[in-house]
């Protein structure tokens, strides 16, 4: 069975780390099933595969880990993205990279911990290439990646107004959040693999 996390982390089949991962067999299998559910769904519905990989390539590029960034970049090409779309995703990710997590808390004692950061808006050239629907998703995605505690209904309403259905928003939220998981697991296992006991 394909195991994307092992592949991206460079863990050799049969190695000690591969065997250690087998002690959590369901976590391993279901992390793969999660990838499959998002990126080879039984029905993509109104959230196309190309759009899924455009968001994924953006998220992976924001995280800046070579192994996952390159993989999703290639998947976007394989999904039939035009050269203009590929450039728009890469250049927006470059412009939008920052340090997180930041954001605001409900007013009270935690206000002392509020920290401001970039509130990203897609640039005019990329907006033309992405279209309003995908551009709005990139803006929502950037918030999810870097400052999820700033989330508010207005961001979801912007998604709905841009033509995303409630169900599509659930799928997009899962996709971005799953990648936040997968990219970190790969980064963590790669570090562990590089430092055998």
């Amino acid at each position: 069975m394909t195991d994307m996390i092992n592949m991206l982390a460079g863990i050799a089949p049969g190695s000690a780390l591969d065997k250690a991962r087998d002690a959590r067999p369901e976590a391993r299998r279901q992390a793969q099933a999660s990838y499959d559910a998002l990126f080879s769904p039984t029905e993509a519905g109104t959230f196309s595969l190309q759009d899924r990989f455009a968001v994924a390539a953006f998220v992976a590029a924001l995280h800046g880990r070579d192994e996952t960034r390159d993989f999703y970049k290639e998947q976007l090409v394989a999904a039939g993205a035009s050269p203009e779309l590929q450039v728009a995703v890469a250049s927006e990710a470059f412009e939008a990279r920052t340090h997180g997590p930041y954001g605001h808390y409900p007013a009270g004692p935690l206000s002392l911990e509020n920290s401001d950061g970039m509130v990203y808006a897609v640039g005019p050239t990329a907006r033309h290439v992405l279209g309003q629907r995908l551009a709005t998703a990139f803006e929502h995605t950037h918030m999810l990646v870097y400052h999820p505690r700033d989330a508010a209904p207005a961001s979801l309403q912007a998604m709905l107004d841009a033509g995303w259905s409630t169900t599509d928003i659930v799928t997009l939220s899962q996709l971005v959040s799953f990648l936040a998981f997968q990219i970190r697991v790969v980064a963590g296992l790669k570090a562990l693999n590089a430092r055998p006991a």
Binding site: A23, G100, Y105, S155, F178, I183, G188, R195
Partner: protein, 200 residues
């Protein structure tokens, strides 16, 4: 036809990190309990979750919900070796504290406190944040969770060495990585699809 977000009923929002039981109120419309399809019910894994607006909202995409839930359960509940449950919960609580998910932190701080019987230390993490000084082993787990949670991700060989130096073997380190990474998934859903409320 454009859909609309939901305005939650009047409630009190929690303004500090707490181990108290909280509610969660959705900003998007969950699937109605009586209209759940067999596939959606199956995706909840636990039938009781049909009562939860959070899981009924996620059930709009049942395939990813089911895979997410089964990933979650094995990371936290698989009893075979590795990191004790209390410390998997500690990693989840520390991650939630850094991302700022008051709801997730409340659930997993409660679990961490129950399984470790170290209520004071868990409360210190909630009160002071991830730079808190607990003991060398818990500090290492909290620091590793924080390094994995920050973006750019600042987790590397030094974190592995530190975890080994406080007694974690490969499987226990995998558990830390899985638990902290999984909460980077869970926190984003809970934070962005609704809001917490106190239960009085």
């Amino acid at each position: 036809m454009t859909e609309k977000t939901q305005t939650p009923p009047a409630h009190t929002e929690p303004v500090v990190f707490t181990r108290d039981q909280l509610d969660w109120l959705p900003w998007l419309e969950p699937a109605a309990e009586e209209t759940l399809t067999p596939r959606q019910k199956e995706s909840l894994v636990d039938a009781a979750r049909a009562k939860s607006p959070y899981f009924r909202l996620l059930a709009r995409d049942p395939d990813i919900l089911e895979a997410r839930t089964r990933t979650d359960k094995d990371i936290f509940y698989n009893p075979q070796a590795g990191l004790p449950r209390a410390e998997r919960e500690l990693a989840a609580a520390a991650t939630s504290r850094l991302n700022g998910c008051i709801y997730c932190a409340s659930v997993h701080a409660r679990h961490a406190a129950i399984y470790s019987k170290r209520e004071r230390d868990v409360q210190k993490l909630l009160d002071q944040g991830i730079s808190v000084d607990l003991d060398p082993r818990w500090n290492a787990i909290v620091a590793a969770s924080a390094a994995l949670t920050g973006i750019p991700i600042d987790f590397g060989p030094d974190d592995i060495d530190r975890l080994r130096s406080v007694g974690l073997d490969d499987l226990a380190i995998i558990d830390v990585i899985n638990a902290a990474s999984f909460f980077n998934w869970a926190n984003r859903l809970m934070l962005s699809l609704g809001e917490p409320a106190t239960t009085d």
